[in-house]
Amino acid sequence: MAKKKSGSRAKSSKRALNALELAERELEGYDSESEARRYNSRSNGTVVNLLKKVQRGRSNDNDDDDDEENYNDSDDSFEDEELDSDEALGSDDDYDVLNSKFSQTIRDKSKKKMVKKIRTTTMMKMKMKVDILLFDEEDLMPLSAVWDLDSKATSTEQQQNNSDNEAGQLELQNDDQESGMSSSSDSSEEGSSSSDDNDDDEQEEENPFDEISSDEGDVELRNITSALLKDSSRINPKRLDTYGAGEENEFVLPSASKTQKTKLSLTDMMNVIDDKEAIADATLINGKSTMTEVPLPQRIQKRHERKAAYEISKDEVNKWKDVIQQNRRADHLVFPLNPTTEHNHASAFTRTTDEPKTELQDKIDQVLKESNLVDPQKDSTFEDLATAKMSPEEMRKKTAEVRLMRELMFREERKARRLKKIKSKSYHRIKKKELLRNKEMAGISDESDTELDIARAKERMTLKHKTNSKWARDMIKHGMTNDQETREEMEEMLRQGERLKNKILDRDGSDDDDENRKETLDDFERAEQEEENNNNIKENVGKTGVMNMAFMKNAEVREREANQETIAKLRTMENGHGGDLSLFDSDNDEGNGESVHLNKGRRVYTPGNLESRKELNEIEDAARKETEIDNSRSLENRMKKKNVPMTASGLEIRSEDDEVQKEEENEKGREEEKKQTSENANPWLDDGSDDDNSGTIKHSTKVHIVDKDSSKVSKRAQKIEKEITKQIRKNKTSKERKDDELLLSSTNNGKSLKFVDQYGGSDEETPSFMFKQQEVIVEAFAGDDVVAEFEDEKKRVMEDEDDKEEDATLPGWGDWAGVGANPKKKRKFIKKIKGVVTKDKRKDKNLKNVIINEKVNKKNLKYQSSAVPFPYESREQYERSLRLPIGEQWTSRASHQALIKPRIMTKPGQVIDPLKAPFK
């Protein structure tokens, strides 16, 4: 075991085995002698030990004590270690492992201590085996030394011998087993042959050292050992002062030589011994020893042993802990765990070795080289690349350099681009002007025709330029024109409108409107005069033809008169008379044979009149608009006035307000009408107008600002409107209930129903046909009130599925009967029957036209878990784990394969070795 250093474990173990064998042989062979020997050892052992020490001390007298102590200390420590390992050695299984550890510890120590260790280990072995044997062996060597001492005590040569002897001793102790007990016993009997024995020993000893040297070629070791030997010779051991102090005489007994007092006592001898361990062991000598204690009961002993064994095995198993944990935590394990990676170099286009293997390859290589097709990059391995040879710092430096270069280049480029763009202001100005001039010369407008068209269409659609847009009307109505912004916007609109008008009429923008009109009027008058002249001429020229007939003439006259009238009116308007529209109104009345009051009375349908009236209305509307435009033109003035509310012309403001109010009222009336129609309309019989208004009641978005400043009229209007809205709301609520009535009323409504398919075009059915169909539909569903029915059903279901209370009271139950009983006591037994869901917890509680069945589908229950399954703690956790489907239809290929990858993968036919200890 001591020769672990040699590195050949096998040998050492063999040696250890040899030692064991020898020990056994001793036990067997010297059984008979053992008693006597033991006695001898007991009596002589101390002496022998002593002698040994003396001898050692003699060999190196001069040395100081410190060295010695060090020596001892080191010894002690080693012994401790060995003890541990020896204990561990108790278990055969661990032999190897421990060996290895042991060897490591040994290797860690300096070589100087090597030799000492050798000695101590051998000693330990002895102890381990049999105590008696140890004594025997200890006897052997010192005895021989004693003999030596006696024979050649003083000679210097002997000293030499001694030193040799000690070396021999050291070596011998290594291999005392080998040297054999016989020789040692011989030596004890025959003192003369001891030197020979020693020689023999030395010879024998040479073998292990040879082995060592052959193994390691260890010349150094030799040197060191020799040096050590010298050292040891220099060490001076303690001396026994009293010993041999008396007169030296052949016949004198050492103890009784001089005085009785100086009797050699055991304690004296003990004091000399350096080996503390030995002192401690010598319990008999100390007198401290008591009787060996009664051994523990076997089961307790066993228990202790088990405990110790458990500790050992636990330590052993704990070493595996990390590996096991890692494997357990791993998502996937591939067996065998560490497959040797096989790099498949032998592909068609790459080659592992540079040397071509075959002749053909050689040839191909040559051809490739000649045709310059070999890619040097491909051939060069990573190590060959220039960058690989660089140190990391160099590499960093280089990359930084490259980066800087790139950055600089980029900046330069950008700068250049910017410079290219920069041109002076004047340059741009000149260029722009040039462009414009060119365009003008070529007669090209900025925009393309289609674009212009679109813009124009947009303008037309949006009617942005007129004050009769809804927004503008609202603004004016609510006096929002006081606001600076809105006024500006409005002005902008008007200006735009003017521009457009100019565009349409192809007038020059610089012309004044009024002038224009004057001119036109003047022109008109002039033309008329000319016509008159012509008429005169006509009259003079001929009196035949249709034109000269009486009715034609009359008509002509009438026309002329009318024209003149209009001219007169226009004139008056021009001159600034206020009542502008009233004139036209009267015109209206005159023009139509009958008067139709809006919103009042019965409607009269005269188809012939209707169209003409329509036309008239249109004209009127147009005129109205025109005046409005005019008004709005004066709007600016108005707004200015409004900014100063109470000026001198307060009256005027009032009147205007009234006007606005009137308009409002009219509108309201119209809206009301509309609402009424939409109210009255049967859901089946809507008028086919496609807008939202028909389906749902349009809530007015107007904002009425009524404050103390506003007029009485406006306040009143406000009140009326409120009432109307209230009514509407009321109607709305009762609307569904009164479906039937509505159906009836809609037919009696008297309003003509017009069905136009805006979308379908002319291919539609004729209105009359449609009307018929409507009637049919009305008839078909006259009795149906599906909405109410549905509501009823929902209510019924709600009640059915709600919790119910049942009165289970039995009259007289539990009461006393007969005379004198008190029957007044009333008990109520109410049984609560749990329903499906309570009313307020229904899913369809807030859903209109929906009944959701809340009953549990019992057939589905088998596909549900009745409780949260084990590893999960709550429903959320569990359902979270179900969230991701594994199937390939629902996930990408990569994630599907990752999800279905088995935890443990083995290749069929491959041998899977057991786990190897990773901690060796």
Binding site: Q326, P683, F781, S881, L884, R893
Partner: protein, 556 residues
């Protein structure tokens, strides 16, 4: 020595993509996060974290693969505001598209056998037409190969392909029949009487029929069992369609309600009032989010059937819409009389998405029709989008026509799911696979995601030992009180005997020898029973002989 650990753990958190929300699943990351700190069990925590990690990676990778889809949907677009797509005529489109597409816009003129019902197979390869007057034909319409043609001499109302084009069912005057690809009659489904609407649930192998009787019947096509019969109690069914997401049947009734049915529930799961007159047609989009109904009251309503809210309601169609359908890309096609009108983006919830006709209050952003077509002097009977094609199949009085509707078809098909170019071998394998993956009929629920989850009535947390003990104690108590066994009912002997039922079965007016024997036997039994009872009550003794009876018996 390191075992191969999962590489994904080492990976960083996956990149967030723009289209990621499309691939999130209900209960996904965007919903509330689990509080990991509350979980004390380390193993569980690690497991849940792993699950979350996997989920995130799966979503990210799914989002990452989207750009691999080779095709994209292309709608027709107007060049400027003045141009309207609905003004474009079919002839114009036909002249401008490539030849193959133009060829696909076929027009079958079949004037004899009256309004035609059409059905395209799920992969769009085959077309099944059924004329009201009994003309049924199945064809590979792209190749122009006629697979089967029948003249049934009986009115046919609906025809539908089953799991593939090899079988089809036809709803005839009284019964529903199943034919094979050559037109051989395989089955007469005698339980499906007077069916007017047929639907096939491909993942459950169920044929659902509804019609004049007001019964909804499910027949398992693979086993031949009648899975369930549900009585609607709402009169004749006027419309029927399936929700492709959860296989729920939507039936339209003459009182304007739409009812939702699952074969495992005898009552409708949901009832909606969607019109004030009979429902004419129902359509549900592919994802099962939206339902469109048209009623005889000229209304068209769009519902969000995830939460049963009405999105849009158009009350004033010029004439009642007769048919409605939704394409894979979300186009709504509605037919009324001779017109077909399509809207794009009408399934969105904002106000401007509401489909409309013509001007509509001058709103510039209104949802005008995407396309329109008219069959002059004709009437449309049935419309269906052709799967994976930009075509709308229209069955009308005088035949079948395919209209080209750009952007109506799903551009990318999943050949593992439905393969429009499948070979016969693939078809066979697909059939086997779908049969193996067939879902039981009772898995059909309104929300299919509940399958596998914890029952709502169960407690939300895992039961502790204490709870378990309580439960066991309860069950023990139950045992003590004998509540776990059914109540004893007095054993009343049934009145039916074999002879009686035989008599009942036989027609009343047919009297044959066997019947006489049975009658005699019954009488004998009856008299002996009476006699026995009399003996028991002590009226007569055991050896009593009715002398009078005996005396007169000779005359009988």
């Amino acid at each position: 020595m390191t075992p191969s650990t999962n590489n994904r753990k080492a990976k960083r958190a996956p990149k967030q993509r723009e289209n990621q929300s499309k691939f999130e699943r209900p209960g996904g990351n965007n919903e509330k996060k689990l509080n990991y700190k509350q979980i004390k069990d380390k193993k569980l925590k690690a497991g849940l974290k792993k699950i979350d990690d996997e989920y995130r990676h799966a979503v990210a990778s799914a989002a990452a693969t989207e750009y691999l889809l080779p095709e994209s949907i292309g709608f027709m677009e107007a060049e400027d505001e003045m141009e309207k797509t609905f003004k474009v005529k079919q002839s114009e489109i036909k002249s401008s598209v490539d030849v193959t597409t133009a060829n696909k816009a076929m027009d079958l003129q079949l004037k004899e056998f009256g309004p035609y019902n059409i059905n395209y197979s799920r992969n769009g390869t085959h077309l099944l037409i059924a004329g009201r007057k009994g003309h049924v034909a199945s064809m590979d319409w792209r190749k122009g190969v006629l697979r089967a043609e029948l003249n049934l001499n009986e009115s046919c109302f609906d025809a539908v392909y089953l799991q593939n084009e090899q079988f089809f069912a036809v709803a005839q005057k009284k019964y529903t029949f199943i034919y094979d690809h050559e037109g051989v009659e395989l089955h007469r489904l005698k339980q499906h009487i007077e069916a007017r609407h047929l639907q096939f649930l491909p993942y459950h192998y169920l044929l659902a029929t509804a019609g004049e009787t007001g019964w909804l019947k499910y027949q398992d096509v693979s086993t031949g069992q009648l899975v369930s019969e549900l009585r609607t109690k709402l009169g004749p069914t006027t419309a029927m369609t399936q929700n492709p997401w959860n296989a729920i049947m939507h039936l339209g009734h003459s009182n304007g309600t739409v009812s939702l049915w699952s074969p495992s529930m005898p009552q409708p799961l949901v009832k909606l009032l969607s019109a004030r007159g009979p429902i004419n047609s129902i359509a549900i989009d592919r994802s099962g989010y939206h339902m469109v109904t048209t009623g005889a009251d000229k209304s068209m309503k769009i519902w969000d059937i995830r939460n049963f809210k009405e999105l849009h309601s158009i009350e004033n169609l010029p004439t009642p819409g007769s048919n409605v359908t939704i394409s894979d890309t979300g186009l709504i096609a509605m037919s009324r009389g001779p017109h077909v009108t399509l809207w794009k983006d009408a399934l969105r919830s904002n106000r401007e998405a509401k489909p409309c006709y013509g001007s509509m209050g001058g709103n510039a952003n209104r949802n005008v029709p995407y396309m329109s077509h008219m069959f002059p002097g004709n009437k449309i009977n049935n419309i269906q989008f052709v799967p994976f094609e930009d075509l709308l199949g229209v069955g009308h009085e005088t035949g079948v026509t395919n209209l080209i509707i750009p952007g109506s078809g799903e551009a990318n098909y999943d050949a593992l799911e439905i393969n429009p170019y499948e070979t016969s071998k693939q078809r066979q394998e697909q059939e086997v696979r779908t049969l193996l993956n067939k879902l039981p009929a009772d898995t059909i629920t309104l929300d299919p995601n509940v399958i596998g989850t914890v029952d709502n009535s169960a407690s939300g947390t895992r039961l502790t030992a204490k709870d378990l003990a309580e439960i066991t104690a309860q069950s023990l108590n139950q045992h003590k009180e004998n509540k776990d066994i059914p109540e004893i009912k007095p054993d009343v002997k049934g009145k039916n005997s074999g002879l009686r039922s035989f008599l009942r079965k036989k027609k009343q007016n047919v009297i044959d020898e066997r019947k006489l024997r049975v009658q005699k036997q019954l009488e004998k039994e009856k008299s002996s029973r009476q006699r026995n009872s009399k003996i028991r009550s002590g009226e007569i003794s055991e050896d009593h002989k009715d002398l009078v009876g005996e005396a007169l018996g000779r005359f009988s």
